[in-house]
């Protein structure tokens, strides 16, 4: 007894079929969530190539000891821009891209709540990123690291305009992110299909929801800090200059008050993508939906109480350090529950090893590993040893790349058919997966050892100490494997767009609403929509004999 009803109540956007032949102008002026989502994704890929290219330049410089391929100034600009690009211009746009495209489809809505705000957010991100990169032409890119510590970011130590571009660029992009986050929250609160309760939205939507609150709370701290540094640099204020009574540590507090939540901002949507992938490819409902959802709230709350773990070595005293060490360890609990839940989802299932699923499985192991090194840092005395070494670089690339970016890749393969109507080439995709995964582990596994044998991070070159040369060389090899893999991915995308297998409406046997609508919906997503009564409305439709709302155990 499935009621299908017109979807007109959801979304006030006009009913108009999207004309796919319209040109650039139509994209630029678009307020359609799918087009904006696509533009976000393209922006993210563009910056992935740029940020990845910067990574390859760095790895080339570091391949051998005492190398002079890059000058110190060039290296410092490149690593700063690499970190900043990857965090703000790859991870964030990718999240907003998938969120924009998928959230309305998954909750049965026709668009985001505020389509024009949505377009505004995108253009702010693009503009902020553009400004950041314009600095290369305007006398030097920022070169004080992605966390841009005071007083190195002050005028007397960085008199070139790089830091100004950093501050203004990130402020602008940050305003875009805040706008996007508000939009997500309102959309998810008010635009759900009839019958869909907040605890029935797909986990990806739930993660975007929590993520948006994180953004709203975290970004203003960064924005305040950026405003202050500009006050210092442009109007001779004294926030961070200790010589005139300011405080260098204030910057660190404010930055990490933003920075730590930000790493979970990058991670949560990938948790969401993986939750969808695990349940689809195990042909089972996600194990303990409620716990995965609520533990994300726990992570979000906790993430505002751990920022000092980036500052264990600044001398804040044992009580403060102990407190924040404890808080950081606590995050392992809600995160661990998630890892186990995904394993339990697979357990007893019927696992199809499609490419999204392969990324998901590799993620599970890599993420556990990176999480354990994270807990290692939360043990304050060990962090005193290892902070600011390559061990940290290894930790966060296991999280960012092995965790968040793997999630984005899984999402790309999973939703490519929905976005383009074509399957993403299976054979090239498999090559891409293996080459990238092996390259990734080659690059970053060995960096743990480099940290242990005493190599600090952010050095433009290093002396020829025992082991340094070999290990760095191996790391560089791995990076170039990833680079090759990325090229294969680009080829795969282009090839699939031109001559890929036509996907149809529901290529993966999905269970959520995005697979229920047309392969490539037009301006309006849904003409008709089933009454939602469970977390898997499309499953219910396909299995009228055993729908979820009759099954107490799912």
């Amino acid at each position: 007894m499935d009621e299908i009803m017109p979807s007109s109540f959801a979304g006030a956007t006009p009913v108009r079929v999207l004309n796919r032949d319209q040109k650039l102008l139509q994209w630029i002026s678009s307020v359609d969530h799918k087009q904006i989502g696509t533009m976000y994704l393209l922006l993210s890929i563009l910056f992935l190539v740029i940020g990845g290219g910067e990574a390859l330049l760095m790895r080339t410089q570091l391949a051998i000891p005492n190398n002079h391929f890059l000058s110190p100034e060039a290296y410092n600009q490149i690593f700063t821009m690499h970190g900043t690009t990857m965090v703000f211009l790859v991870a964030m746009p990718a999240i907003f891209g998938f969120g924009n495209y998928m959230v309305p489809l998954m909750i049965g809505a026709n668009d985001m709540a505020f389509p024009r705000l949505n377009a505004f957010s995108f253009w702010m991100t693009l503009f902020g990123g553009g400004l950041l990169y314009f600095s290369f032409l305007a006398g030097g890119a920022p070169d004080a690291g992605w966390f841009n510590y005071a007083p190195l970011n002050e005028y007397n130590y960085s008199s070139r305009p790089g830091v100004d571009y950093f501050a203004i660029g990130l402020l602008i992009a940050g305003i875009g992110s805040v706008g996007g986050a508000i939009n997500f929250i309102v959309t998810i609160l008010y635009y759900r299909a009839k019958g869909m309760k907040l605890n029935q939205v797909p986990l990806f939507v739930w993660m975007i929801f929590v993520d948006s609150f994180l953004i709203l709370a975290a970004f203003p701290c960064l924005n305040a800090a950026l405003a202050m540094i500009e006050m210092d640099r442009q109007f001779h204020a004294h926030f961070f200059n200790s010589a005139s009574g300011g405080s260098a540590l204030l910057w660190q507090h404010l930055f990490w008050l933003f920075g730590h939540p930000e790493v979970y901002v990058a991670m949560l949507p990938s948790f969401g993508i993986f939750s969808e992938v695990f349940q689809t490819f195990s042909r089972k409902p996600i194990f303990s939906y409620a716990i995965i959802a609520s533990s994300s709230v726990a992570i979000a709350l906790l993430s505002f109480g751990v920022w000092v773990h980036h500052m264990f070595a600044v001398g804040l005293g044992n009580t403060v350090n102990g407190f924040f060490g404890a808080a950081s360890m606590l995050i392992a609990i809600p995160t661990g529950i998630k890892v186990f839940s995904w394993m339990a989802t697979m357990y007893g299932g019927s696992i199809r090893f499609s490419i999204p699923m392969m990324f998901a499985i590799a993620f599970l192991i890599q993420f556990t590993f990176g999480g354990l090194t994270g807990v290692l840092f939360a043990i304050v005395p060990i962090d005193w040893q290892l902070t600011d070494t390559y061990f940290v670089v290894a930790h966060f690339h296991y999280m960012f790349v092995g965790g968040a970016v793997f999630g984005l890749f899984a999402g790309l393969f999973y939703w490519f058919p929905k976005i383009t109507g074509k399957m993403l080439d299976q054979k090239l995709g498999t090559w891409f997966f293996w080459l990238f995964t092996i390259g990734f582990n080659t690059t970053f596994l060995i960096q743990h050892v480099l940290g242990l044998i005493g190599m600090p991070r952010r050095v433009w070159t290093y002396p020829d100490l025992p082991g340094y040369g070999v290990m760095n060389f191996i790391s560089t090899l791995g990076a170039f494997m990833m680079g090759t893999a990325a090229l294969i991915l680009i080829v795969a995308i282009l090839k699939s767009l031109r001559s890929g297998v036509v996907a149809g409406k529901d290529p993966w046997d999905g269970v959520t609403l995005e697979w229920y609508c047309d392969p490539q919906p037009g301006r309006k997503n849904f003409d008709k929509i089933p009454l939602v009564r469970s977390r898997r409305p499309f499953w219910d439709l396909k299995h009228p004999e055993n729908p979820d709302w009759k099954n107490a155990r799912s």
């Binding site: 690291g145 007083p151 260098a248 044992n318 529950i337 007893g348 005493g454 952010r458």
Partner: protein, 315 residues
């Protein structure tokens, strides 16, 4: 041969101080636990992937999404692990970082991109290379002249940030004699890579001998060339940045040069200390260490030779 190949393989896991031993004990315990956990997770995943893979004709799995007992277990297991870790952590923190008391044995000041060293008890000033006695509880204090730096010698255990406006400290009790190398570990600008650290851990007598030698005022020029070098040094503004004891030069913008040639490396571990390297440095600092805070001087070869000759006598 490059200087640094002279050293043996180093690693944080090789403890050369009581502080490092404390930390490494914890490190070892955690590593065992973490490896077991990682093995458990990975093997279970492999097992699940083999056992539950989709075979042709496999039936639709049972649609289970909940199991309260399992969920409880998933919660309790990390909680217990974390509780144990936390207790161990708090204990070790307090053992490694005791409250500071008394006069510091050594005061280290970080500059872009070199280290100033001062021993309050004897008044000895040095730069870039650190001499420390073993088997003594040393209190080391850190100041910064500009940006944030960080003092780290892997074998000694905890590092410490050198933050402008704060006087941080660590306790250090070295248990092994020998040479140790470390590095500035907080990004501090262009030449952060070449702000390395070299520590000579010595027994009490050797250490005292070194202190005595460095308490003496700098050698006076002994021949004509070095006499000229000294004059050049004093007249060509070198003295506005450097200190050479017993001369009018007392600044600390650049490293103390009083006993320059008794050091084994120059420019914070960038290269061995020898005449050739000094020559290159004085002729064109910005070429040797780009962006270093010492300007290029346009000197004739003779002038450079004289200055270098004078400097090589400062032992």
């Amino acid at each position: 041969m490059h200087i640094s190949t002279l050293f043996l393989f180093q690693s944080v896991l090789h403890s050369a101080s009581t502080q490092a031993s404390e930390i490494n004990k914890l490190f070892g315990q955690f590593t065992i636990a973490a490896v077991l956990l990682l093995l458990f997770v990975s093997l279970l995943i492999v097992y699940i992937c083999i056992r539950f893979r989709d075979r042709p004709g496999s039936p639709l799995p049972e649609q289970i999404g909940k199991n309260n007992r399992l969920e409880l277990l998933m919660f309790i297991f990390p909680v217990v692990t974390i509780a144990v870790l936390l207790v161990a952590t708090l204990r070790t923190i307090n053992r490694v970082m005791k409250p500071a008391e008394g006069q510091p044995d050594m005061i280290v000041t970080g500059h872009q991109w070199w280290w100033e060293v001062y021993y309050p008890a004897t008044g000895v000033t040095a730069a870039n290379e650190f001499h420390l006695p073993i088997h003594k509880n040393l209190l080391i204090e850190f100041h910064s002249a500009d940006v944030v730096h960080d003092w780290w010698v892997p074998e000694f255990g905890n590092k410490m940030d050198v933050v402008p406006g704060r006087n941080n400290y660590i306790w250090l009790n070295i248990t092994q004699p020998g040479n140790f190398i470390g590095a500035c570990s907080e990004f501090c600008g262009a030449e952060h890579a070449w702000m390395r650290i070299k520590v000579f851990a010595e027994d009490e007598t050797t250490f005292n001998r070194w202190q005595e030698a460095n308490k003496k005022t700098a050698n006076l020029p002994s021949d004509e060339l070095s006499m000229k070098g000294m004059l050049m040094f004093q007249s060509r503004s070198c003295g506005t940045c450097h200190r050479i004891s017993g001369t009018p030069s007392t600044a600390s913008v650049g490293p103390d040069l009083s006993h320059l040639f008794s050091r084994s490396t120059m420019l914070s571990g960038m290269m061995p200390m020898n005449e050739k390297n000094l020559q290159a440095w004085i002729s064109d600092p910005q070429n040797v260490k780009p962006d270093a805070k010492m300007p290029d001087f346009i000197f004739s070869r003779d002038t450079v030779n004289a200055i270098v000759h004078y400097l090589t006598q400062l032992k």
